[in-house]
């Protein structure tokens, strides 16, 4: 009967879910598996420049799993330094971003309601131009004869330009600037939902405004802080464009190392291993976040 097989067709609901999953499968999971596979291979002078894991020789399938790349990463100090320095730069940039964006989000959430949509749009507005162009704009601002140095010399604060471009300072500016909207939006969404009577209750019970902020507003915005920090921290760790264009010789970030392995050394297996380890490092905070969030959700059904 027609009816009986129609029942086994997926309904509209599952179709909607299937589309993004299919997308993820095609463009995330499959590339991931390919990279994972390459990381267990060795490099070769061929196109593509690595040996296949499965080889057909003498009427037998030979599987070669090569752990050398991972061992190499562990032995060579350069990679560890690059990983740690990436984590450090991303962590400091996340904290700076949080300190700058919290007041912005707070002010937006407390602005008159007819202003809020305009303010939100202004936060997102810079993303309408190319990311690369905005980073180039920062190069123009920060270089030795750039706007910032000229302004400081004109104001009499500096006698001669200081090196700002191609330094860690420029990298922090770039990351904080680029990821600001990702911090502001979750913080704003959280803060705007706060019940103002809780703040009033705290004032009423004798807590001055600063203490009310620390004991009521800040703990209640914890989820926004975590979400914003994750959205800034995770992509910052693997950031390539900003350290490449704004950073100097001393800024060692794993994204740059990865690029060099792939394109300068053409050592795909080592590069894949670098990528896999970075993913593993980032999965830990993501899992912690997920665990934390699901516990929070469980508490507030």
């Amino acid at each position: 009967m027609i009816h009986s097989w129609l029942k086994h067709l997926p309904g509209g609901r599952s179709l909607i879910i299937v589309v993004p999953y299919l997308w993820m499968l095609l463009f995330f999971l499959i590339p991931f598996i390919i990279v994972f596979k390459i990381s267990f291979s060795t490099s070769a002078l061929s196109i593509p420049p690595y040996r296949e894991l499965l080889q057909w020789t003498d009427e037998a399938v030979k599987l070669t799993v090569h752990f050398g790349n991972y061992l190499f990463l562990m032995e060579d100090r350069l990679y560890w330094v690059a990983y740690l320095s990436s984590l450090k730069i991303a962590a400091i940039a996340t904290i700076l971003c949080l300190l700058i964006c919290y007041p912005v989000a707070y002010a937006m959430a407390h602005a008159p309601s007819h202003w809020r949509n305009l303010l939100l749009m202004l936060v997102v507005l810079p993303s309408w131009t190319s990311f690369l162009i905005r980073v180039y704009a920062w190069m123009g601002i920060l270089k030795n004869n750039g706007y910032l140095n000229n302004l400081l010399i004109w104001a009499g604060i500096l006698d001669e330009p200081i090196q700002m471009l191609n330094s860690s300072f420029a990298v922090y500016i770039g990351i904080v600037y680029a990821y600001m909207p990702f911090m502001i939006l979750p913080l704003y969404t959280n803060l705007v939902k706060h019940d103002h009577s809780l703040v009033e209750a705290s004032l009423d019970l004798g807590a001055p405004p600063w203490k009310t902020f620390l004991t009521v507003t800040l703990p209640l915005s914890k989820n926004g802080v975590i979400a914003g920090s994750m959205l800034v921290f995770i992509p910052s760790v693997g950031e390539f464009i900003i350290p490449e264009l704004l950073g100097g010789p001393e800024t060692l970030m794993i994204g740059k190392v990865l690029w060099q392995e792939f394109f300068n050394n053409r050592d795909w297996p080592v590069a894949s291993a670098v990528a896999m380890v970075m993913l593993a490092l980032l999965v830990i905070p993501i899992m912690l976040f997920q665990h934390y969030q699901s516990r929070e959700m469980g508490q507030n059904p």
Partner: protein, 331 residues
């Protein structure tokens, strides 16, 4: 009427207070005097400025005009966190990230009270609202009535000079409301708190006794009013701004009337009647007493111990009340 006498008499005094928002006059030239230990209800339709008045007492709004005094010192201009005033919010505003215990302790922590003292006081307050077993719960694990008790405990524990209750029953369903009304009033009377309450829950005042009458004597320190429904005159021990012969209404709360089986030895502030009905409310009963003139009077009495003699249906009873229990409402 001597105004300095009145100041001594009133604990909270609101003098000529107005509040104007940009385009809208929320409160217009309001005068109020409230005695210590009084539970004062602000009634009226929504939007008439009750909540604005309450928020001015709490310090969240500043009056555009006029002054507020509490216990002899001026309150106007003092920020909310320095006022000896605590408010129970309509939504209860319980901190969702703290346990019941932490919520109740919050106000005491701000006052730098010692830790073991806080624990002791919190325990006392939770016992008062019958919640000690739920001390470790988070607010989302509580029912509406339990949240209300936490909100009440949180302000009672600070023993403020003035309690403010904004629509304390609005967030509860009807059945719970009726039960909690009696309990809240009971608790407030137990701690002898001075309290201003915004409500449009009629039951809070539904059974207030109102006697229409005429002023027959008007002095600085007392007024005598004759009501057609009462045999004896009403003697009020405070002055009013009125003249002899003007018509007024005397309000008398049902719990301010005492009931006896023997006639009192006085000829004012008393009445005789027959018990028509008794409504039992746990710790209290409400007696409906019909006077000789046909007027129905509500009397709110605590229930006696088991076995003690008490008036019952169709008993003849004698009612009396104190001169300061009467509130004179001028028309």
């Amino acid at each position: 009427m001597n105004s300095s006498d009145l100041k001594n008499d009133s604990y909270l005094s609101i003098e000529g207070v107005s509040k104007k928002f940009e385009q809208f006059q929320a409160v217009r030239h309001t005068n109020l005097k409230i005695r210590k230990g009084e539970i004062f209800c602000l009634l009226g339709p929504s939007g008439c400025g009750k909540t604005t008045l309450l928020r001015m007492l709490a310090g969240f709004e500043q009056p555009s005009e006029g002054k507020i005094f509490l216990d002899g010192s001026e309150l106007t201009g003092i920020p909310p966190f320095r006022r000896p005033v605590n408010m129970m919010f309509q939504s209860y505003a319980i901190f969702p990230h703290m346990t019941v215990e932490q919520n109740v302790a919050f106000g005491l922590k701000q006052d730098q009270v010692a830790k073991d003292k806080i624990r002791e006081k919190v325990q006392e307050a939770l016992e008062l609202v019958e919640m000690p077993k739920l001390a470790k719960r988070k607010p989302h694990q509580l029912s509406g009535g339990q949240r209300q008790r936490v909100a009440l405990a949180r302000i009672l524990v600070k023993q403020p000079k003035l309690l403010l209750l904004d629509e304390p029953m609005a967030a509860l369903d009807k059945k719970l409301r009726e039960q909690m009304q009696l309990e809240v009033v009971d608790i407030l009377e137990k701690v002898e708190a001075t309290c201003v309450m915004v409500t449009h829950a009629a039951a809070f005042i539904g059974s207030v006794n109102l006697f229409d009458g005429t002023v027959i004597q008007d002095e600085a320190d007392h007024v005598i009013i004759q009501s057609p429904v009462l045999k004896h005159p009403i003697f009020v021990d405070h002055g009013i701004t009125g003249t002899e012969g003007m018509s007024v209404t005397v309000a008398l709360r049902p719990e301010k009337i005492s009931m006896a089986s023997k006639p009192p030895e006085k000829l004012h502030n008393c009445a005789t009647g027959i018990v028509q009905d008794i409504a039992y409310f746990g710790s209290h009963s409400i007696y409906h007493v019909e006077l000789e003139t046909g007027q129905l009077v509500y009397v709110h009495l605590p229930n006696p111990e088991r076995g003690a003699s008490h008036a019952t249906w169709q008993d003849k009873v004698f009612l009396e009340w104190n001169p300061h229990s009467c509130v004179v409402l001028t028309h």
